[in-house]
């Protein structure tokens, strides 16, 4: 595929909009699925599709099949750094789509809560766009997004459009300012030049953050939930997901109404390489989206 557009979302987090080299090669995917992005000679990595399955990655959803696939990822490794350096016109080899999807059809007429920690929101953007395009089919759509600090909140430029489309969006940060020495200075230096604009919707400096400080589960506490009618879709770091699951359970939401998206390293995405095993599951094939009750015993064990 060819990079149609590339943009920095926040420092170190890049979005690539990919167009099929031959428009006839387009494929259908479901929100939650991922592709393997490959740069021959450099390597391959698994990245969630962040665009609307029913439209292009443009902010205006379209009804036809996607002609563009959007991927949002953080430049952290041997493959994602070079991927982040790509600009419009560059080529990427794409395999996919792979894996399980968010069960959006089965959630109709329910209250859907999206709980996203950090870059987890990227893998849920596809589901958000789908939910909002079919907003009338769902009782409510609530997006809970937590980040380390206000400058790390993702897709803030989309929030107004998402709210207008019927979503409730709540954000929270670990700390109101990016006042710690950058631990990933190396990774951010590697993707220079970084051209990005401070998100307008929230303040980036500590003084201007007026929202809540804490973690995503705390946002769950602020919701007036009807537990039987609520399904939670969660993606983020594992400790964050475990905490969300625990808080959701406290609120009376059944384990089979909680879905989480797992992450593991992968070399094949087809159940051959064995790298992504999680208990008896292959994250690439049985996941990445799992119903919580099906993996709860394994999620509770460290080091699986």
């Amino acid at each position: 595929m060819v990079v149609a557009a590339a943009a920095w979302e926040i420092p170190g987090v890049r979005t690539l909009d990919l167009a099929f080299r031959d428009p006839g090669q387009g494929f259908v995917f479901e929100p939650g699925q991922f592709t393997m992005l490959c740069l021959p000679g450099i390597g391959e990595c698994a990245i969630s599709i962040a665009s609307d399955p029913g439209g292009g990655p443009s902010r205006a959803p379209r009804a036809d099949a996607p002609t563009l696939l959007s991927h949002t990822f953080r430049a952290v490794g041997n493959v994602t750094h070079p991927l982040a350096r790509l600009v419009a016109g560059d080529e990427v080899v794409v395999r996919g789509p792979f894996g399980s999807a968010w069960p959006l059809e089965t959630l109709r007429n329910r209250d859907v809560v999206i709980a996203a920690g950090g870059l987890g929101l990227a893998s849920m953007r596809s589901a958000i766009l789908h939910l909002l395009r079919h907003r009338a089919a769902y009782r409510s759509v609530t997006i809970l997004h937590g980040a380390k600090h206000p400058g790390e909140l993702l897709f803030t430029a989309d929030y107004q459009a998402w709210r207008e489309a019927g979503a409730t969006i709540l954000t929270i940060v670990d700390r109101p300012a990016d006042d710690r020495p950058a631990t990933s200075a190396m990774s951010e230096a590697c993707v220079a030049p970084v051209a990005w604009a401070a998100p307008a919707a929230v303040g980036c400096g500590g003084a201007s953050w007026s929202g809540p400080v804490g973690f995503v589960p705390a946002l769950l506490d602020t919701l007036d939930l009807s537990p039987r009618d609520t399904s939670i879709l969660c993606c983020g770091p594992e400790p964050m997901m475990k905490a969300v699951v625990a808080r959701a359970s406290d609120r009376g939401i059944a384990a089979h109404d909680i879905w989480i998206s797992m992450e593991r390293n992968m070399a094949c995405a087809a159940g051959f390489c064995g790298l992504c095993q999680f208990g008896p599951a292959f994250v690439c094939r049985d996941g990445p989206v799992f119903r919580h009750d099906r993996i709860a015993p394994f999620l509770a064990v460290a080091g699986l």
Binding site: G41, E44, V76, A270, C273, A300, G303, L304
Partner: protein
């Protein structure tokens, strides 16, 4: 009428025949002349390994192997027949799923990447001397690499043309426990021809040959054009069938003898739930004090399939092979992610290996990943023994004879937020 067709019909699958030991060379010749790469057991580097075999004389006549935890020794025994040894470090995996394989080839032409077909022109493989545990491992790897949704082209191409000349074991090493895994020692499936040496040691002058496939029937018919392939009467067939059955009985009856290696067995009753209910068992930390994370067990395991994929480019960067290489769950990189390592300790890595092999595999492929070949015990430099580890977990997981946490693993409370 074509004599070959008539002869092949006479050697149809399920039939038994007599092949003089000295005529094994004809079988090798037939395979080689049909374009096969023939591999078989030979003595090399102090072990019996699988390598290219041109002459039946190169088989390990007069050699026996003695195996125990962390120990493999060859012993010269003039009375030993060519297949009286057990299994060495190699298995069919080394050839069908080789340690390094090219998956994709990319060439950049005028700035644009084009995928090129990889020539699959290697000769078909014929393996002489595969044992029942090897054939079970073959079936296990088939289930991994040849699936309805995806088939691995390189594996499938080799597997499709593979010729298996199996051998029924007469002996078992102390490390062998195929009887526990219920896949041996009798050869029952996935073979083209199966050889049984009905007589002890070097005394036998002929093999009983069972035909397992049309391909095997054709091969034997071709051998019959060059030498006498005799008939076997019912009594002789029954005697040949008894060889592995008698060994299986002996394996079940083995007991610990003073001064002898402990004969292995593995209780597989409810093993999936036993292990998944024991993920927090202290034994994982205990075994980690001995385990070197060296990966030997996964390298010699005939079913371990984990691999990594790496890019190999030429200096221009315009020609790239994507190569698959064996990986191991004991490598630090296996669980590495950008945010940390999913399995950062030796305890977690050993637990991954053992629970995958004996429990997760059942969920994934409907069968155990263990064939009881015992290679992981023999080739572990510190003699860690999969049967002993399972027994230790079983002994202390269910003191009251009941599963530790019911049949479904019970979740423990998730971690609190930081």
């Amino acid at each position: 009428m074509n004599d070959g067709v008539l002869a092949a019909a006479a050697h149809q699958p399920g039939s038994w025949h007599r092949l003089a030991r000295r005529d094994l060379q004809h079988l090798i010749d037939v395979l080689v002349e049909a374009g096969h790469r023939v591999v078989g057991p030979q003595v090399a580097d102090g072990a019996i390994v699988l390598r290219d075999l041109a002459h039946a004389d190169d088989l390990p006549h007069g050699w026996l192997d003695e195996q125990d935890g962390g120990s493999y020794r060859l012993r010269h025994d003039p009375g030993a027949g060519p297949f009286d040894h057990v299994v060495g470090p190699h298995s069919l995996k080394n050839f069908l799923f080789p340690p390094r394989d090219t998956l994709q080839r990319w060439v950049r032409v005028a700035g644009s990447w084009q995928e090129q077909a990889i020539p699959r022109d290697e000769p078909p493989l014929a393996v002489i001397g595969a044992r029942a545990c090897d054939l079970q491992a073959l079936a296990v790897q088939d289930a991994i690499f040849i699936r309805a949704d995806y088939a691995d082209p390189a594996y499938a191409a080799r597997r499709d043309r593979l010729v298996v000349v199996a051998v029924n074991c007469r002996r078992a090493a102390a490390t062998c426990f195929c009887h526990s895994m219920q896949c041996g020692p009798a050869v029952t499936h996935s073979f083209d021809l199966a050889l049984t040496d009905p007589a002890e040691g070097a005394a036998g002058d002929a093999f009983a040959v069972e035909v397992g496939s049309e391909r095997g029937a054709g091969l034997l018919a071709e051998v019959a054009r060059r030498t006498t392939v005799g008939a076997l009467d019912d009594e002789a067939i029954a005697a040949a069938r008894r060889v592995p059955r008698d060994l299986e009985s002996r394996m079940h009856a083995r007991s610990v003898e003073p001064g002898q290696p402990r004969p292995r067995s593995l209780d597989t009753e409810g093993i999936r739930d036993l292990l998944f209910d024991s993920l927090a068992h202290p034994r994982w930390d205990e075994v980690a004090t001995r385990c070197l994370s060296c990966t030997n067990c996964t390298l010699v395991c005939p079913t371990c399939f984990c691999h990594s994929v790496g890019e190999v480019a030429d200096l221009s960067g315009d020609h790239v092979d994507r190569d698959r290489r064996w990986a191991s769950c004991f490598e630090i990189d296996h669980g590495r992610m950008h945010g940390g390592n999913a399995r950062p300790t030796t305890a977690s890595r050993y637990r991954q290996w053992l629970t995958h092999k004996l429990a997760g595999w059942i969920d994934q492929f409907g069968t155990s990943g263990c064939t009881g070949c015992g290679r992981c015990i023999t080739w572990c430099p510190v003699g860690i023994d999969i049967t002993e580890e399972v027994a230790a977990i079983r002994a202390s997981s269910a003191p009251d004879g009941q599963p530790a946490a019911g049949h479904e693993p019970s979740p423990s409370p998730p971690d609190a937020p930081p």
